[in-house]
């Protein structure tokens, strides 16, 4: 077992070298973790096994097609079985498969060991963005596509990272083992970054585990891999891997900012600040379904502009945003947004696009409801 693993690693690294010219957007990336390199060499090993089998099998086939053409005067033989040949071509593939299964099993065992992680990150898929929470660190944020729609619609030239840019990348330390806990607020998504060889479904009601130990600082990009509705193509992932001390500094800054925001809950907010903050939150969270102008997309996503039922009933509006509507795509946002963000976005929805309720919902009111 250990011998075959060593052989495989040797062969894998040789093949890796031999095919490095291929790895420019034609092949699986080698990646920047131990696991990603092991997966890459498994991939190249099985690939070359297939190539060799293919050359032998198709070689015999095309030889026969050429050599035994009727137009060359071939007379057909009449044999139709040969036990020893049949035993051989059953046994040889079996041996190859066993040889392949051993290293694959070893790699899989490593991938399934998230123990001794130094940092836990909760990854929550939402239609159509990712929410990251650094567990126990009081830092969390939402990461959405930042490529402007004008590039999608061809009104503006597409830039280099078209569809692969986000407003807030996930920042991770290099050299530390990071455990991911994956879940979802709505449908099934799948968090995938090829360079990290992490792909894991995020499923409502489940928490899946995966882990990574990144070896090189850099920007690593990926996408949601499981069809999750209309904007499945528009929920990319960007990981910014930085040196461990730089990460610690970044985390401390984020913790301070979070604390400052939390203290804002108690004060009285003016209409203008609420509207300004609310527009920002609405744009990154709500606009994909309810549209930037609040017109919605019937029948699934109701219009908010001129929605009398909501405008006449403030309590219901707050309830819908905080707790969602079961049986519909409307998710509960009480866990994803802080009281300031919730108050601001509700205020914004009640006073934008010609809605004129005049209500200014205070963060402190929301805070009280959340407790």
């Amino acid at each position: 077992m250990r011998k075959s693993l060593a052989w495989m690693m040797g062969a894998g690294s040789f093949l890796g070298l031999a095919s490095s010219t291929l790895a420019n957007g034609w092949n699986m990336p080698v990646g920047v973790t131990d696991v990603s390199r092991e997966i890459y060499s498994l991939h190249m090993t099985i690939f070359w096994i297939c190539v060799v089998i293919g050359i032998v099998v198709f070689g015999v086939m095309f030889y026969s097609l050429f050599r035994y053409r009727r137009s060359r005067g071939a007379k057909s033989a009449n044999f139709h079985e040969n036990t020893s040949v049949e035993v051989v071509w059953t046994a040889i593939p079996l041996l190859i498969l066993v040889g392949m299964a051993l290293p694959a099993t070893a790699t899989l065992k490593r991938m399934y060991d998230p123990s001794e992680a130094e940092l836990d990150v909760m990854v929550t898929g939402q239609q159509w963005r990712w929410h990251y929470e650094y567990l126990g660190e009081d830092v969390s944020f939402t990461s959405s596509l930042s490529t402007p729609r004008s590039q999608v619609n061809g009104e503006e030239e597409k830039d280099e990272n078209y569809l692969l840019d986000v407003d807030e990348p996930l920042v991770l330390p290099v050299g530390r083992k990071v455990r991911f806990l994956m879940t979802s607020d709505d449908v099934i998504h799948s968090w995938w970054v090829p360079d990290l060889a992490v792909k894991q479904d995020s499923i409502p009601g489940f928490v899946n585990e995966n882990w990574v130990r990144i070896e090189e600082p850099g920007i690593y990009r990926g996408q949601c891999a499981e069809l999750c509705g209309k904007d499945h193509a528009f929920m990319p992932i960007v990981v910014r891997a930085v040196e461990a001390d730089e990460f610690d500094t970044w985390l401390a800054e984020r913790q301070e900012a979070a604390a400052a925001e939390a203290s804002g809950v108690d004060r009285e907010w003016g209409m203008d600040e609420l509207m300004e903050r609310g527009e920002q939150v609405y744009g990154s969270i709500c606009a994909t379904c309810h549209q930037p102008d609040g017109s919605g997309a019937e029948p699934t996503f109701p219009a908010l502009a001129g929605n009398e039922a909501l405008l006449n009933d403030l309590d219901r509006h707050i309830d819908v945003v905080l707790n969602g509507v079961s049986g519909t795509p409307m998710a509960a946002y009480r866990g994803n947004l802080n009281p300031v963000e919730l108050a601001a976005v509700i205020t914004y929805e009640r006073n934008a696009w010609g809605n004129e309720s005049g209500d200014a919902v205070q963060p402190s009111e929301i805070q009280a409801l959340l407790e």
Binding site: S64, Y68, S76, W89, T105, L108, A225
Partner: protein, 543 residues
Amino acid sequence: MASNLPPKPTLEHSTAASGGLAHEHHERPRGIWRWLLTTNHKEIGTLYLVFSLVMFFIGGIFALVVRAELFQPGLQLVQPEFFNQMTTMHGLIMVFGAVMPSFVGLANWMVPLQVGAPDMALPRLNNFSFWLLPVAFTLLLSTLLMPGGGPDFGWTFYAPLSTTYAPPSTTFFILSLHMAGISSILGAINIIATILNLRAPGMRLMDMPLFVWTWLITAFLLIAVMPILAGVITMMLMDINFGTSFFNAAGGGDPVLFQHLFWFFGHPEVYIMILPAFGIVSAIIPTFARKPLFGYASMVYATASIAILSFLVWAHHMFVVGLPLVAELFFMFTTMLIAIPTGVKVFNWIATLFRGSITFETAMLFALSFVVLFTIGGFSGLMLAIAPADFQYHDTYFVVAHFHYVLVPGAIFAVMAGVYYWLPKWTGHYPDERLGRWHFWMSVIGVNLTFFPMHFSGLAGMPRRIPDYALQFADFNMVSSVGAFMFGVSQLLFVWGVIKCVRGGEKAPAKAWEGAEDLEWSVPSPAPLHTFETPPEFTPITH
């Protein structure tokens, strides 16, 4: 290559006994009623084949909408909502409307002729199973016009995207799938009854042509798994309309349960779409190599082992849903095992070619390209079986490349090979070889241009089912789109060739191909409406 085909058998020396007299028993209804009320296996076979051809074009047009949008990055032609409906409907129509009914059509025509039966065992049921299909698929297609659009959650319709988050038309989608499922189950029962009860005296199971064998096994698979599909869509129906929470996590349900159930149906379903293809190719290669099929018995055992293994591999579609390690290992090993019986089949076909006397009629060209391209799909399947690597392959265009290789130049090429092979029996005329060769080469080039680059775009990181993509995937997608349009247009040559053959052409004798040995070649060409009214003499051919 095929320009100097051998002389075809002439009418004079085709004096093989006809299985029965082609006289009419009674007044037959005419026009539309003839087709609505027919219980004749040949007419119903024709209905199935025409229906699947129509569905093939509708599903093909949906695929071309997808490929046109993906021709370059950005959104040009359709919005994501409609794009998702197109990918979903393309998959559903091709799987349930084109590939499966085309095999049932071939079974209707050929199984009674190959076992020496006068008709299917249950002719009225046969009529009913067919006519369910146009109703089911009209309903399915009509969902595209309903408010909120048609199914947009992929042909695998994972919950809760297909329940809580689905458009209102989903209830109709469920109803249409129920009807298609009932049709399949009834068709399967009929095929089993025919094969087990109506074989010519003296024909043992191990004397049956492989097309009959593969269909017998396929029919058992259908009966085993279509009820699972019916169960899972019924659970969806309850979740959507009656407030249950089978798949709704908020109500204590389990979205992963959906996937286990779906793939317990879905993986055998994959083999339902390929086993009859093995049977067709196993008829054509010996005919045009003029040499008995190598390893008949091992072909039967390989087919049966693939069918049994197909119940033990379903979770290889779910390697990244968070299965426990032991489950990953179990499903990886069982999946790798499938390579062995599949390999045996490919080796047997090649051993049949070895030391044969080979000619390259259109049917043979399609059968040979099936062997090569299906094997390529098998190789990528073996790669996908390696669970750790699947963490990178899963849900990318690599998977799209894989299953299109086994389905298009796999299943569909085999159906086309079968059509070119049996057209002389159906119409009494040989198909136009020149036209057939054009169709073949255009299809083969088109198919590879379309699907080969998808291996690269997938490995480079392109997820499947996206209407827009990052710039590094642009070149591959452009090539795929060009290939798809080439493949699509070349299918018009197929239709032209078939129509031309129905209307006339070189007359074919009873035994249309010199190397063909099975019972269907003992009845006149075209096969009269009623054949084998008295059971034929059957002398086993050396298998």
